[in-house]
Amino acid sequence: MAAINMNEIEKQIAKLALSDFAQFSQVAISDGKALATAIEQDLLTAAAARAGDEMTEVDFEEEKKDLLAEAEMEKLKQEGLAQVRIDEFTAGVINIVAKAALAAVG
C-alpha cells in the first residue's frame, strides 16, 4: 500500500472551502441587502399610510410585528442554508480523503 498524499488532500480541501463558503457568503450578503431594502420600503409605506389615516394604529402595529417576524425567518433560512453548505463541505472532504485512500490502496 502506497502512502497517502497528504499535501494533495490539504490543497483540495482548501480549494473546496474557498469555493463553497465564498459563494455562500456572497449570496447571504445579497439576501441581507434585499431584506433590508424590502423592510425599509414596507415600513415607509406603512408609516405614510398611518400618517394619512389610510391605516389604523392596530394595523400599523401588526405590520411592524410582521416585519420583525420576517427578519427572524431570514435568520433561520440563512442558518439552514449554512448547515447545507457545512454538510456538503463535509461530504466533499470525505470524498477527497476516500479518493486519496483508495488510490493508495491500489
Binding site: M1, L35, A38, D42, T45, A46, A49, E54, M55, T56, V58, D59, E62, E63, K65, D66, L67, L68, A69, E70, E72, M73, E74, L76, K77, E79, G80, L81, Q83, V84, I86, D87, E88, T90, A91, I94, A98, A101, L102, V105, G106
Partner: protein, 150 residues
C-alpha cells in the same frame, strides 16, 4: 477469485463502509424534498389570493379561510415529520403558530384575527400584508430548494 485478490479488497470494502457511515452521521439538515417544495409554492399562491380578498368582508370568505388553514396545517405537519428538518419547521411555525412568548409569531393567524375583527381591511394594509407574506413563503421555498438534492 484468488486469495491474494480477496485480501487486497478487504481494506477497500471496509473503507467504503466507513465512508458511507461517516457521510450519514455527518448530515445536520434534511435533503431536498420535492413534495415539501411543491406544497410551499402552491400554498404561497393560494394564501396570497386569499389575502387579496381581505378588502371584502371576512364572513363571505370564512370557508376559504378554513380550507386554506387546513391545507397549511397539513404542509406544516408533513415538514414536522421529516428528520433533521428543524429550520423548516421553525419557519412554518413563525408563519402559522402563535406562541405566547413570541408576539411576532403566527403571522397568518394574526392576519385572520385582524380581518375577522375589522370585518374588512384597507387596500394599503392588504398590499403590505401580501408583500411580507410573499417574502415569508419565499424563505421557506428558498431553504427547501437550497437543500442538497439526493
Amino acid at each position: 477469485m484468488d486469495f491474494a485478490k480477496r485480501s487486497q479488497q478487504k481494506p477497500i470494502v471496509r473503507l467504503a463502509l466507513l465512508l458511507i457511515t461517516l457521510l450519514n452521521a455527518c448530515s445536520t439538515i434534511s435533503v431536498y424534498d420535492q413534495f415539501a417544495y411543491a406544497n410551499a409554492t402552491s400554498l404561497k399562491v393560494d394564501t396570497l389570493n386569499l389575502i387579496s380578498a381581505a378588502t371584502e368582508s371576512y364572513d363571505s370568505h370564512a370557508k376559504e379561510v378554513a380550507d386554506l388553514t387546513v391545507r397549511l396545517e397539513k404542509a406544516y405537519e408533513y415538514d414536522r415529520g421529516r428528520a433533521l428538518n428543524e429550520k423548516s419547521v421553525h419557519l412554518w411555525e413563525i408563519l402559522l403558530v402563535t406562541k405566547p412568548d413570541d408576539p411576532n409569531s403566527g403571522v397568518l393567524p394574526r392576519f385572520i384575527a385582524q380581518w375577522k375583527t375589522e370585518g374588512r381591511l384597507s387596500a394599503t394594509t392588504v398590499a403590505l400584508k401580501k408583500s411580507t407574506v410573499s417574502r415569508d413563503f419565499d424563505k421557506i421555498i428558498e431553504l427547501e430548494s437550497g437543500k442538497t438534492k439526493s
